[in-house]
Symmetry: C2
Subunit: 409 residues, 2 copies
Amino acid sequence: MHAISPLAPEAFPSLAPVAGVRLAAGCTGMRYQGRDDLLLAELAPGTTIGGVFTQSRTCSPPVEWCRARVRKGKARAVVINAGNANTFTGRDGRRAVAATAAAAAKLVGGKADDVFIASTGVIGVKLPVDKVTGLLPQIHGALAAEAWGKAARAIMTTDTFAKGATATATIGGAKVRINGIAKGSGMIAPDMATMLAFVFTDAKLPAPAVQALVRAAASRSFNCITVDGDTSTSDTLLLCATGQAPHPRIARAGDPRLADFRAKLEAVMRDLAQQIVRDGEGAQKFVTIKVTGAASAEAARRIGLAIGNSPLVKTAIAAADANWGRVVMAVGKCGEKADRDRLRISIGGVKIAAKGEQVSGYDEAPVASHMQGRDILIEVDVGVGRGAATVWTCDLTHGYIDINGSYRS
Amino acid sequence: MHAISPLAPEAFPSLAPVAGVRLAAGCTGMRYQGRDDLLLAELAPGTTIGGVFTQSRTCSPPVEWCRARVRKGKARAVVINAGNANTFTGRDGRRAVAATAAAAAKLVGGKADDVFIASTGVIGVKLPVDKVTGLLPQIHGALAAEAWGKAARAIMTTDTFAKGATATATIGGAKVRINGIAKGSGMIAPDMATMLAFVFTDAKLPAPAVQALVRAAASRSFNCITVDGDTSTSDTLLLCATGQAPHPRIARAGDPRLADFRAKLEAVMRDLAQQIVRDGEGAQKFVTIKVTGAASAEAARRIGLAIGNSPLVKTAIAAADANWGRVVMAVGKCGEKADRDRLRISIGGVKIAAKGEQVSGYDEAPVASHMQGRDILIEVDVGVGRGAATVWTCDLTHGYIDINGSYRS
């Protein structure tokens, strides 16, 4: 529908199989024609799961279903559809989730409670669940270990490119794989950044460890991005660990032997999160906002998001205007502690403001040149403490308005 | 620079003199050519004053100056310039304020501490204060009681029309006048809505009463509007009471004889606030959001602002799309208590959603027709209490992006 984002990676990465994960996708026809919109991920018996979900008070029935079941920590399948968010759909919406889970459970030979569901698309329209349950047996017959690109494409809505990331980590000398796919383009803001993301690993980890790992990595990846400050009713991030890798027994997320796994998991999730920003509706520029000197890491994150969500900052970036005064404004408005007279602002590595005013001899030329590029770096030290965070966002362009005036989400 | 907003009132209202107030404006040339950008309001001896200011942590030297002096409650002049915000300008910025106050004080025969200053325009550029102090004697010579339209025009920045409102109230049988002018178009969000507003009355009121009255009226007017969720460093609202009206002595804001005055003051301030929204950068539609059933009035206001600030809601309105699902999303994201399954949503008076789903037999045609109009009404009952509030906003259009990509605020 829309041109591929100029910020897209060159190609979808090559994702090798994850032992214990098989994928298949198909087209229900409920919204799109000629493209897949239903994904089934089958997980080996013994798979553990953790998840992070939208904080919305009007969350969807699929989110309610998953949140209630993720505590048990067991998973045998994930079913995702991209034609309809199944949100604000009342009792019928809840029945549709249960029917989908039951149908998938029957196919994979597990319990409905071990099937996780995610939906994205229009809000408030009832999901024609028969189209889902009717298609599941067919796509179950096509399950394959290599279908990562197909899977990533099946969950797209306004996305202009499919999003995947992969890494290999070492746990106690054994290699484990981490593969992730995600979708998201607008209605993107913590908590959670609006999106669906599914990360799979063959690591063998108890469910409480999976939960702790996914939550910690989300706080430095998906919860540090924003496109428009709008939070979806459907945000879902799941980490599924199939336990097929032959590494020593790990009992806790804090086990030192997980150091490499933790770093690689965070890298995969950060990569996916940044891809979502790079596909931000109408995005022409990718913006990194580094905040230091805040009262805490959380305060730094909030200040970064205030800058990243400011329509005035984002429209200035779209226009390649080195309008640092709007960064001052955004720091000021967000309610977190900041010292105007110790605030330091740099753009593209060039110091612009310090000690409550523009630095003397400031030359705007190199900053203006940086603003013309695709990758914008804004650094802010708010001068009150040692808290730091990095936030990623995109600019606000005419494309955002075109897309959101024409797409019924 | 930009076409007059299609939501503008037909004409600037006729504002009769307020006894004890004289106005004059002139052109400093610091930013604009061929239009006034400096306003002097002279106030009779004995004038009391109250004010509400931006909550920004990076507020401007003029805001700091006014906040420190408004507690004393006395005013002899207000000086406003529209070419430069004098924000993030360090010690020189503070000196510029003091020099401006001293120059105006000398002219009106009062103390510098009784002169209030407001500035709006670009952030981070030093104010050429000589252009202000040099022009003040000349415009002081032109002070007049009838210059309200000229005054309102002199404080505009990206505004496409001048904003004024007036009312006559009765206090203890005597007539008092209330005149207000305001500017604001973007960077508009509580607290305070970004803007400058100056309200003058000939009522005779002690300063603590003036302060209480202006704060209460702000909470139901300027603090209930949003254009883009961005808060200025310079928001200033002042209420000046010259004490020239021959009404009985009033000691407290709660005096029952002030009932009519309170209502008229709120009406004038609401009128000005709504005019700011009607001049929202790029605005094509004026949106009223009525929230009921919230946990408190403050919760209702926050929910209304979450809806009114949502880029997805605002772009849908711009496209005349009756996309009520995005209202569900905005209610859900804002963190205030809401019950998804008791939530009720109407647009243009047509019930759309209730009991957690779309109402049965919903016909979108009348709602689609309403969305084509200039005035949009969204009503939301969140189903948890008795708190209510009304919030006003505008749509988000290509015009907003054009204006903010080209204006260096």
